[in-house]
């Protein structure tokens, strides 16, 4: 089963590789999905909060296109479903009654309610070319696909584990040599 979603991918050690709070993602998302500019209708939302030291932080919140979507399970009128072809979760806006149970059920804050129609709205990946990813100036929004994402994670983990293991082995053999030579 193919799945794709948008991931926030910051590097907190690099000042430019974090969400800069420019919110161009909200602008282009609303334009692409509604034909109008309106950040309140954006499927991706930048949330500000004060984590510590009183310095404001910005964090992008967007649907993670789950394989077993809780929003779907929570929907009383079956308006939410999985689109196997696109690999995403979709809302049938005609069927949606706007009860907000999907908003409540989602642990990622990925569901929104349209401020005008009142019905559920969510990330559509813009049909495969997400505009938020295309215009994010710090490049911290990434479109990932489940297979390559898992493989990439494994590859990174393998390289890291290899480095650690090799370091350990070398240190150990150094120690052994010192013991053998008696000093």
């Amino acid at each position: 089963m193919k799945r794709r979603w948008i991931k926030y991918n910051p590097d907190f050690n690099v000042i430019e590789k974090q969400c800069a709070d420019c919110r161009i993602c909200e602008m282009v998302c609303s334009l692409e999905n509604t034909g109008k500019c309106n950040p309140a209708k954006s499927r991706i939302q930048i949330i500000n909060f004060l984590p510590d030291k009183g310095v404001p932080e910005a964090y992008p919140v967007v649907c993670q296109q789950c394989a077993k979507p809780l929003c779907r399970d929570a929907c009383p009128v079956d308006a939410v479903s999985l689109d196997d072809q696109l690999g995403i979760v979709v809302v049938d806006e005609e069927a949606c009654i706007g009860c907000g149970d999907c908003v409540d059920a989602c642990p990622f804050g990925g569901m929104s309610l349209d401020p005008h129609s009142g019905t559920a709205i969510k990330c559509t990946l813009c049909g495969g070319d997400p505009k938020c990813v295309r215009y994010c100036p710090s490049g911290v929004l990434r479109l990932v696909e489940n297979k390559s994402f898992v493989i990439q994670k494994k590859q990174n983990a393998a390289v890291n584990s290899y480095k650690i293991l090799k370091m350990k082995t070398e240190a150990l053999s150094k120690l052994e040599r010192r013991i053998e030579s008696g000093c």
Binding site: E16, V28, E32
Partner: protein, 633 residues
């Protein structure tokens, strides 16, 4: 007929004297002709503020206008304008700010907000989705910017609102007061003072109205092109890396720090370099709305006795800190924090404090004037103390709160020599000595001394061939040259005015490493963006003409108030005292060259020798009615 394109389509007029609220349609003809933002506010200001109106009276108006492209995804299009007759210059006044205020005002349903009259008691205006309310603000009076914002946000029960407010400085009618939107300032011309006189603490805006885009595909294409240009234009990557503190390299290159009240070109700047700010105080790169450059920097003091101090610091804060002789980054951040919370213009206050310090150095001010305080350049405690005194108008602060020009009149004794101002508005940016176009640009700006009215950098970056092609003389490319400089300044002013019409940031669109990139971003792409959003087919020439039209309206405002060539002048110091130290050591502004460039400038503007627009020129620009009203020849 309703206006088309990315406008909200409405003007809101609020009279604080009687609480009346009127909503008018934005007419399509007006929108097309004046093209948004500063174009709207300048024309309305001209039409509605009659000759001789006292800036601090209930006849002055505060006009908020949103950039034409603000509220669209156009990169760095977030700016809005606030205009009023300036209590510093008694002439046209305006200030421009980035941030979300303009976007939310548009989404609340209005392109322009006109505030008239004065309230009896402190009030704030709330505009949410077209609903306008005037609310009591007595409990907010006296509060700092951030404290008032927090209370208002709790009252409105929403985080998705934006607030333009004044701090204690505006309330106390300090003429150097700004209007703040969070940490972003509508800084110049004493706008906060006008707002304080109206007893208007804040304007709160919020909404979720749709903004139309005529042609989304064209918009995306222009955005892609802009993205490409900012990776190729050598100006952009360092700007993105360091933010505006990178201008230190520019100031060092030309030796134009304006240090210690605009005397020294050589200055111990190393402690304030962009590298120090990046290494010591930058937690992360931030950005104004929609901006792909990410040059905004909020600075944080990580350790030491002032650990935890956090505020937005832009280049002008660093520049004016040098004008006051500061050499440590912590001092700059503390200075900025105080001004941002009180709602004060860092340029005005920086120059005013430096003025007082030089007067003290020269013995014009003594300890009996200062209340026992020693005013020494570089003494941060003294500077912060003076900021407090200006803010609350105590002692010497009461005199300085009037700005350098009025303070020097009050103090007398030749102190006018040390008041660094043009038309009553304090100096900005870098020293003009050795930089011919820059020198004249400070004089010709329609809102008093100002580098952002023209971005006078073209003379530093073009080749002689380009000078000949664009401005009619190879001399235009030389810092020693004269010919072509006036035409260059005229072009430069029209060019950057486009940014204020459309709501585009000057750093993102009107600074480049080459003239080609500058034109590509500032005119070509700006026009493409405008046409994509509005569904129009305006030409690049038409865009430049819109800039020229707005500039002429402001000039006409000033002419009606009696301004002529005699006011288009810079402080005497620049003509007579050579710059001390640095790479421009010994440079002055040569008076003869200054006058020649000014002549050429007036000529290229189609104005007469005394700097008065001609009837012919105004009519060409579609401003015949203004020409008639002023009886222009």
């Amino acid at each position: 007929m309703a206006v088309k394109g990315s406008y909200a389509g409405k003007i809101c007029r609020i009279d604080l004297s009687n609480g009346r609220v009127e909503k008018e349609d934005l007419s399509p003809e007006f929108a097309v002709k004046y093209a948004g933002g500063r174009g709207f506010s300048s024309r309305i200001l001209f039409d509605e503020i009659k000759k001789g109106v006292e800036p601090l009276s209930e006849d002055n108006k505060l006009i908020f206008s949103v950039g034409a492209l603000t509220g669209t995804p156009v990169p760095a299009a977030s700016r809005s304008t606030i205009a009023a007759k300036s209590p510093l210059s008694n002439l046209h006044g305006d200030g421009h700010g980035g941030g979300y205020f303009g976007i939310y005002l548009k989404q609340a349903g209005f392109d322009v907000l006109i505030v008239e009259g004065c309230a009896e008691k402190p009030v704030y205006i709330s505009i949410i989705n077209g609903k306008v309310e005037i609310k009591n603000a007595e409990h907010l009076w006296g509060k700092s910017i951030s404290a008032a914002e927090e209370i208002i946000k709790n009252e409105i029960c929403s985080q998705r609102v934006e607030i333009a407010s004044i701090g204690p400085a505006g309330e106390n009618l300090v003429k150097l007061a700004t209007i703040m939107n969070g940490q972003a300032a509508y800084a110049r011309c004493g706008l906060g003072t006008v707002m304080g006189f109206k007893k208007l603490k804040a304007v709160v805006v919020g909404g979720d109205m749709d903004i139309e885009i005529a042609d989304a595909d064209k918009l995306y294409a222009a955005m892609d092109e802009y993205k490409r240009v900012i990776t190729e234009d050598a100006y952009c990557p360092p700007a993105a890396k360091y933010g505006t503190p990178r201008f230190m390299m520019h100031r060092v290159k030309f030796g134009i720090h304006g240090a210690k009240n605009w005397r020294y070109g050589g200055f111990g700047w190393e402690g304030l370099s962009h590298e120090v700010f990046r290494e010591k105080h930058t937690l992360k790169a931030t950005s104004c709305p929609n901006c792909l450059m990410m040059c905004r920097r909020d600075m944080f003091i990580k350790d030491g006795p002032f650990a935890g101090t956090f505020t937005k610091v832009e280049w002008e804060t660093i520049a004016r800190s040098m004008t006051c002789g500061l050499t440590k980054t912590e001092d700059v951040i503390r200075f900025a924090k105080k001004l941002n919370e009180y709602g004060m213009d860092v340029e005005g206050v920086g120059d005013t404090i430096a003025f007082a310090m030089e007067c003290y150095e020269k013995g014009i001010l003594t300890k009996s004037d200062t209340g026992g305080m020693e005013l020494n350049f570089g003494d941060i405690d003294c500077i912060l103390d003076l900021v407090d005194k200006i803010n609350y108008r105590q002692g010497l602060g009461d005199v300085l709160a009037e700005g350098t020009l009025r303070a020097s009149k009050h103090i007398g004794k030749d102190s006018i020599k040390y008041a660094m101002q043009v038309k009553g508005v304090e100096m900005t940016a870098g020293d003009p000595r050795g930089m011919p176009v820059r020198a004249v640009s400070y004089a010709t700006s329609t809102r008093g001394s100002d580098h952002l009215r023209s971005n006078p950098y073209i003379e530093e970056m073009i080749s002689p061939e380009e000078g000949l092609k664009w401005f009619g003389s190879e001399e235009a490319a030389s810092l020693k040259g004269v010919k072509g400089k006036g035409r260059m300044l005229k072009f430069s002013e029209d060019l950057v005015t486009i940014g204020d019409l459309l709501g585009l940031c000057k750093f993102a669109f009107y600074r480049s490493a080459t003239l080609n990139f500058l034109y590509q971003k500032g005119v070509k792409l700006a026009t493409d963006f405008y046409n994509a959003c509005m569904g129009t087919s305006l030409t690049e020439e038409g865009m430049l003409e819109a800039g020229e039209r707005t500039f002429n309206i402001e000039k006409a405002f000033n002419v009606r108030e009696g301004a002529d060539r005699s006011l288009d002048i810079i402080p005497e110091r620049f003509f007579t005292e050579p710059i001390i130290g640095g790479s421009s050591d010994g440079a002055i502004v040569e008076r003869e060259k200054f006058e020649k460039i000014l002549d050429e400038y007036y000529e290229s503007r189609g104005w007469d020798k005394s700097g008065i627009p001609t009837h012919k020129k105004m009519t060409e620009l579609g401003l015949g009615d203004i020409a008639d009203e002023l009886n222009l020849k």
